[in-house]
């Protein structure tokens, strides 16, 4: 499979300025709200340190805590399964459902099941799968994957959603009021929830000492998925384990504030045991995580708690949309996670960044995101995964930038060239930067010339 060309995909997204501006403004609002929320918590930085330390401790003793979690969950009456990869995970889910003749499943949003492509796997085997998260359901109805890990359909305008619902549900496409649209979804999805034979959720956290899995939602749809049907399946990535019940306070205080600026989601739900007369299965999924744990430069990405603050702040993500990454995880965190799944297919992603470091600054668990992005670029260079134009340009840039004389000659000649060269000579296929934006107006003089005149 060829490498995902994020820049080309982003070009298609920004072709329509409405979508580019809509997403940029919406995500910047989330980022602003996050800053306000953080500033109202005096111990915010201390919480970030604690969260990072708890995660690093857990990952450095992960086998111990996985065994502790398994033992606690079993003692609570839960059946625990282990899956090495996505096909194993999907097969376990299908087996649980088919053994009990469960042909309909309600699901709450889970990035892990996106990663495993669980829904298409089950649908191909005759299971009706209904997403219960509003954004995820919108994406399901539109045959698209999530474009953002918190707001799966945030790249869509309200008019896009109104058009989609008109097509699928026959609602009024002139009505773009979100309250009306949310009501359309409730009316159409509620009956499917009430009739479902099984429910499935992911987990934001799994507590080793109590065996509880914890979900965080605004809609309460994980609670519906876990409580309405008698059969419940929960898929958990290995890295979601935390040691103690009290650690939850640290993470819950950080998670929603980082994501949307609210102090907490409407539903923070802790499931230790099956519901009355019910059955509960937890699948612990590896799918590359145990190998990533051994990657010296990249294991810290396993600390991620999926708040998406790094996406909301990223100038590249905000202006290109999540679908452009062609991957389950997108934005800065996606850039450093996806190459661990497939280094060739996602070889271009580490270049979809300005390396401004804002992602690292807002990360609630202090992942060194921009440093890992840079490290992935080095890996891609070593693995010869960089395309020829980019590689040659970097070699030339490296030589020019490391030599003051060459740099000054280049700077002067660039300024002159920008003034005199015709448009077709400046904007060609070798100039990736100028493909979707104008080259800046040349300065009257370089800083070096100005400095010589005024300070020497």
């Amino acid at each position: 499979m060829s490498a995902v060309d994020q820049a080309k995909n982003a070009a298609a997204f920004i072709e329509d300025r409405t979508h580019e501006q809509h997403l940029d403004q919406l995500l910047w609002m989330m980022r602003t709200r996050r800053d306000e929320a953080a500033s109202r918590v005096p111990e915010w930085e201390q919480l970030r340190d604690l969260a990072s330390q708890i995660k690093e401790h857990t990952l450095s003793h992960l086998a111990h805590y996985l065994e502790m979690f398994e033992s606690s969950a079993k003692a609570n009456g839960v059946t625990v399964h282990w899956a090495q990869d996505a096909p194993e995970h999907n097969q376990i889910v299908y087996q649980i459902l088919s053994d009990r003749n469960a042909d309909s499943l309600i699901k709450s949003k889970s990035m892990l099941t996106e990663e495993c492509e669980t829904r298409p796997f089950l649908e191909a085997r005759g299971i009706r799968v209904t997403e219960t998260d509003l954004g995820e359901r919108i994406q399901q109805l539109d045959n698209q994957p999530p474009s953002h890990i918190v707001g799966p359909s945030w790249h869509k305008t309200t008019q896009d959603v109104a058009n989609l619902f008109a097509r699928v549900y026959g609602s009024d496409k002139e009505k773009t009021d979100p309250v009306y649209l949310a009501h359309v979804m409730r009316v159409n999805t509620r009956p499917l929830i009430e009739q479902a034979k099984a429910g499935m959720t992911g987990a934001n956290f799994a507590v080793a000492e109590t065996g509880a899995v914890v979900t965080v939602t605004n809609e309460g749809n994980a609670d519906l998925s876990a409580n309405v049907p008698e059969l419940r399946i929960c898929s958990v990535g290995l890295e979601k384990i935390i040691p103690r019940n009290e650690d939850l306070a640290v993470f819950i205080r950080l998670l929603t504030r980082s994501a949307t600026g609210n102090s907490i989601t409407q539903y923070t739900s802790h499931f230790r045991s099956p519901r009355k007369n019910g059955e509960m299965h937890i699948i612990l999924v590896d799918n590359g995580r145990s190998s990533r744990l051994g990657m010296e430069k990249f294991w810290r990405s396993l600390k991620c708690i999926r708040c998406a603050a790094c996406m909301n702040t990223c100038p590249v993500y905000r202006r290109s949309g999540g679908l452009s990454y062609g991957s389950t995880y997108m934005g800065p965190i996606g850039i450093i996670m996806m190459p661990t799944f497939d280094a060739h297919r996602y070889s271009e992603l580490p270049f979809s960044s300005t390396l401004n470091g804002s992602c690292t600054n807002v990360c609630p668990v202090k992942i060194d995101i921009h440093e890992q992005i840079y490290a992935w670029r080095e890996v891609m260079e070593e693995k010869h995964q960089i395309n020829l134009v980019k590689k040659e340009a970097m070699i030339v840039a490296g030589k020019v930038l490391s030599n003051p004389l060459l740099y000054r000659i280049a700077a002067d000649s660039t300024e002159t060239s920008l003034k005199v060269l015709p448009r077709f000579a400046l904007y060609n296929h070798l100039n990736a930067w100028g493909r979707h934006r104008d080259i800046p107006q040349p300065a009257k003089e370089t800083f070096h010339d100005w400095y010589k005149k005024h300070r020497s």
């Binding site: 708890i54 992960l62 919108i138 707001g151 869509k156 109590t210 609670d223 876990a226 309405v228 744990l293």
Partner: protein, 204 residues
Amino acid sequence: MSFRDAILQNVRNNQPSSRDLPAPPKFHSEQPVELKKQFAAALKELSGDVITEPPADFGKFLKNRFPDAKTICSAVPEYAGNRKPEDFARWSDASSIDVTIVRSPLGVAETGSVLLSEEEFRVNTIGFLAHDIVILLDPAEIVENLHDAYGHPHFRDKAYSLLMSGPSGSADIGGITVHPAQGVMTLTVIFWPLAETQNVRSAK
């Protein structure tokens, strides 16, 4: 080797060197905290309402607040309602409830959350398939923050513990939170000291 053992073996082989586990402090404010006021303000931010005194006539209060409600499921002794949680043996049938009334054993001032579990709900789905929910909370049971809240025994004892912090909402269309989503449309907390209920019961 089983899948489980293979995974654990790979994890053991790849774990980074040992890091210490910190002990999170409680982060109590140095200034006195007006717990009731802070709770109400935090819940309001997530579109929940707080009534600061028990209504003199609870039946009348409910009628005024939910004029169209026909099915009222009560899980509390303070009001009889016309359904009990146990009436919904098939849990999905709880969607016919207009208003659920339940008591929470704990409130969190920082976030405006109330704690609920299968002990309070008896049938869990009455808490989110109903159209509206009214939650009685003894204001003496409000704690300052989530560090305090996670000390509650429910998190270690109950099958299902929920920190509920407002009615079901979604910001998935356009980024602004709207109601309805899939759960309750409104959430009202009434500060109702447990002692008052107990006094009424002993007087009967």
